[in-house]
């Protein structure tokens, strides 16, 4: 019996030693190499949740694939920013959750995530002055010369307004009689007067550089494939020295197929403007915004090129990142459903404060236990130290992301951890008073208290499960999940501590001479006040 107890004691000591190694790693990389994973509210950072906009009629399988691809694309973009341990996951299959610890520029974070990153090349019509032609030019000056039969397909004007307001895509087509007419996507004709109104409305809210209302056709290779960012192999930010100063641009390399298509387009554009055809430039559009419209000065580029525009260095870096990670297969609804940003300084303050709160709480509890229960109180305090080390080690190993609420759960579980001990000690005192020997009282105390400890802790587990469910079903999940997990582990370990550790320590004392003094257990024969 005693021997078995010694064995358990040794195991407990080993567990404690391992826990300590994990919590305070002497040499990083052995067991506790990674540091405690801290939630956004403790390290600061951004938290965004977006609603995905699946194309209409997408099947469940399509959606799942699009979601996987979206998460992967966002992850690629974010990885290049060196954010440590970002969390990018889907919620309920149709939402995207992004958590960027330490990344507190939320507007930048939003750009990084939201931007669809769809790069398209279009042939943009230029007027004689070398400027792009807009819908207005057609409307005001119904000169059909702008429209040329030599070009296949119709002119397209996309009237996408700012703030996500959508206007109809307008096609300009020439009927058999040679008259121009404006058509919408469903091929209904649009009245010119109505179109003028729409144009004025869009123009009033246009930001410069917007591609809305431009006259363009898709840039296609000879086989009809449109040139898009999907054919890019590489994109790198570059600086070119120009007489006007440094110019930031993005160098691109096409893949094999892209190189061929690009040269076919380039050849056609190089020859445009001759024989009375409209002159065209290569419009580079990112998410429907015109970045630049370089004129093609060579007939072949052999797979390389640059994207120029009015860029800052930071912008070229972001653009290159965006192009390389590829386009999102579906847009995300703007603005996000939920956004949160917490500064790092606020978070750091919380850590100090919670450590302080936790320590003071533990010390007060120990004092109380020792004063009230004497020797068992001392043993329970030792068990509490064991408890703290093991719980923290579990947090690190699982790992549990520690949030402010999680710390709350941990601190609360310290209070509750004592509960099992209290239950047992109270039981022991009763048994001692009933005249049992110490050894018998200890065993009876533990055995009798077990049912109460088990039943009461199961109710706490039920609550933890429900909180976990709640946390996984809501957008602002971190606090609820953090609390549920820490409370769960806290209560589970506290049961183990009380049943195994405290009991083992007490049994060790049974045989010793200390055990003869019942005053150490605060049981007096005469003045019993309870």
């Amino acid at each position: 019996m005693l021997r078995r107890n010694t064995l358990v004691f040794i195991i407990v000591v080993i567990i404690f030693a391992i826990a300590l190694c994990v919590v305070f790693p002497v040499e990083k990389g052995i067991l506790g190499g990674k540091d405690m994973r801290l939630g956004l509210d403790l390290v600061g950072g951004s938290h965004l949740v977006y609603q995905a906009q699946f194309p209409e009629g997408a099947t469940g399988e399509d959606k799942a694939r699009a979601m996987d691809r979206t998460l992967e694309t966002i992850r690629t973009r974010i990885d290049k920013y060196g954010v440590t341990e970002p969390i990018i996951q889907s919620q309920e299959g149709d939402r995207v959750l992004v958590q960027l610890p330490g990344f507190t520029d939320i507007e930048e974070a939003k750009k990084l995530v939201e931007q669809t990153g769809f790069l398209e090349f279009r042939e943009v019509e230029l007027n004689q002055g070398g400027n792009p032609v807009y819908l207005g030019d057609y409307l005001e000056n119904s000169n059909p010369e702008f429209f040329n039969d030599g070009v296949e397909g119709s002119r397209i004007f996309v009237g996408e307004g700012v703030d996500g307001k959508h206007y109809p895509v307008v096609f300009l087509v020439k009927d058999e009689a040679g008259n121009l007419s404006y058509r919408d996507e469903a091929d209904n004709s649009i009245d010119v007067e109505e179109l003028k109104q729409i144009e004025a409305e869009i123009k009033a809210q246009l930001v410069s550089g917007s591609a809305a209302l431009l006259s363009w056709i898709p840039a296609r290779g000879d086989e009809g494939t449109q040139l898009t960012g999907n054919f890019l192999a590489e994109a790198t930010p570059m600086v070119a020295t120009k007489p006007t100063g440094a110019e930031f641009q993005v160098g691109i390399k096409w893949n094999e197929e892209g190189g061929v298509i690009f040269d076919q387009v380039a050849k056609r554009l190089y020859n445009s403007g001759q024989y009375g055809t409209p002159q065209r430039a290569l419009g580079i559009f990112l998410d429907n915004v015109l970045l630049s419209f370089p004129q093609i000065l060579e007939s072949a580029y052999h797979g390389e090129g640059v994207i120029t525009g009015n860029f800052t260095m930071a912008e070229t870096e972001r653009l290159a990142n965006l192009l390389e990670s590829g386009a999102l297969p579906m847009p995300l609804e703007k603005p996000p459903l939920y956004e949160e940003v917490i500064s790092a300084t606020l978070g750091a303050g919380f850590i100090d404060k919670s450590v302080k709160a936790g320590l003071i709480g533990i010390i007060l509890i120990m004092l109380f236990m020792i004063i009230y229960y004497r020797l068992p109180g001392v043993l329970a305090s030792l068990a509490l130290i064991f408890y703290g080390a093991v719980v923290l080690a579990i947090f690190k190993l699982v790992p549990v992301t520690l949030t402010l609420a999680g710390i709350g759960g941990f601190v609360l579980s310290i209070g509750m951890a004592v509960d099992a001990n209290v239950l047992i000690f109270e039981r022991m005192k009763e048994e001692l008073r009933a005249g049992r020997t110490l050894g018998a009282a200890i065993e009876a105390g533990f055995n009798r208290a077990w049912a109460a400890i088990r039943d009461s802790n199961i109710t706490t587990f039920i609550i933890c499960g429900i909180l976990y469910w709640l946390g996984s079903n809501i957008v602002a999940s971190a606090p609820v999940m953090g609390f549920a997990l820490t409370l769960f582990f806290g209560v589970a370990v506290s049961m183990f501590t009380a049943i195994v550790v405290t009991r083992t320590l007490l049994r060790l004392f049974v045989g010793s001479r200390l055990a003869q003094k019942t005053s150490l257990f605060r049981v007096y024969s005469g003045r019993d006040n309870v």
Partner: protein
């Protein structure tokens, strides 16, 4: 030995008074204000270099057109500013205006919730509380399945739990009307923790009743309950005390961000200790004796006396 069960109606009366005050508060001046998680909007925590008075800040925000703004100050001298859901431009404009008026300002926390998500969060929180109640009812009924009428134990534990939630809500609403606190997600988390804690305590006492009944210490149910209560009294108080100590430490040192949580816990633990000692077991006695009518009779003269 204390006679707890004999004073059962007094204990019920104390609870009833606290709950009625709480309900009056909830229904009139202390209507619970829902935080942005449940009602959508934006919440911003700002800290100014120079000290700024809350009234000045409010006047400035109202003059900027934020007439529905709610401002809450923290112990650290920061402010939580709650508005409707801000767009990017509005947010930038607001920061700009505050800097112009009060000098250097730092935004240390910001979150923004869309109405749709808010409704969903509120629904899920309500479901969670309901499922918790049902789950516990079922579990306790199961855990006491060998007892005669196990369902009673479950029901009494649930009554104690509802008691604690009502007390917490009532007192929170009184505090909220004075200090401008809102019901946020941390509050709901706190309520669920209180539910867990309260039932935990109740089960320990029920467990002792079960054991004493099995030992047959008395044929009188009232005596059994009273003995069980007295025997577990020091355990109940000690556990509550240790838990209260850590929660107070949390409240004092960590501050504003989990203040709602800590306050709910504190009220809830006190209410939970009370209800697990004086409500749940004593209801069992009342039920066993079928003396609901006596409580009403007892109540009438006792009021006329006082």
């Amino acid at each position: 030995m204390f006679d707890i069960t004999g004073k059962r109606f007094w204990f019920f009366l104390i609870s009833a008074v606290v709950i009625v005050i709480g309900i009056i508060s909830l229904a009139s001046f202390g209507r619970l204000k829902l935080g942005v998680e449940f009602s959508s909007g934006s919440m911003m925590r700002v800290s100014f270099e120079q000290p700024v008075a809350q009234e000045e800040l409010r006047d400035e925000l109202v003059s900027l057109g934020y007439t529905d703004v709610i401002i809450q100050s923290t112990r650290e001298g920061d402010f939580y500013i709650r508005t409707h859901k801000l767009s990017e431009d509005e947010k930038a404009g607001l920061q700009h205006a505050l800097t112009d008026r009060f000098g250097e300002v730092q935004e240390t926390e910001f979150y923004s919730v869309s109405p749709w998500v808010a409704t969903e969060t509120a629904n899920n929180a309500a479901i969670a509380v309901a499922v918790a109640a049902v789950g516990i009812l079922l579990y306790i009924t199961w855990a006491f399945r060998r007892m005669p009428k196990p369902f009673r134990y479950g029901i009494c534990a649930i009554v104690a739990l509802v008691h604690d939630v009502l007390v917490a809500l009532g007192i929170f609403s009184i505090l909220g009307s004075i200090l401008g606190w809102e019901i946020n997600l941390m509050f709901i988390t706190g309520i669920l923790a209180v539910i867990g804690y309260s039932v935990n305590n109740t089960v320990v006492i029920f467990d002792r009743i079960r054991e004493n009944l099995a030992r047959g210490i008395s044929s009188n149910f009232e005596v059994v309950v009273n003995n069980s209560l007295v025997e577990t009294l020091s355990r109940s108080l000690n556990t509550s005390l240790t838990t209260i100590v850590v929660v107070v430490a949390l409240l004092l040192f960590v501050g504003a961000s989990i203040q709602n949580f800590a306050v709910v816990l504190l009220i809830g633990i006190i209410a939970g200790t009370y209800s697990s000692l004086y409500i749940a077991p004593l209801l069992l006695v009342v039920w066993e004796k079928g003396e609901w009518g006596r409580f009403v009779k007892w109540l009438a003269p006792s009021r006329s006396q006082s």
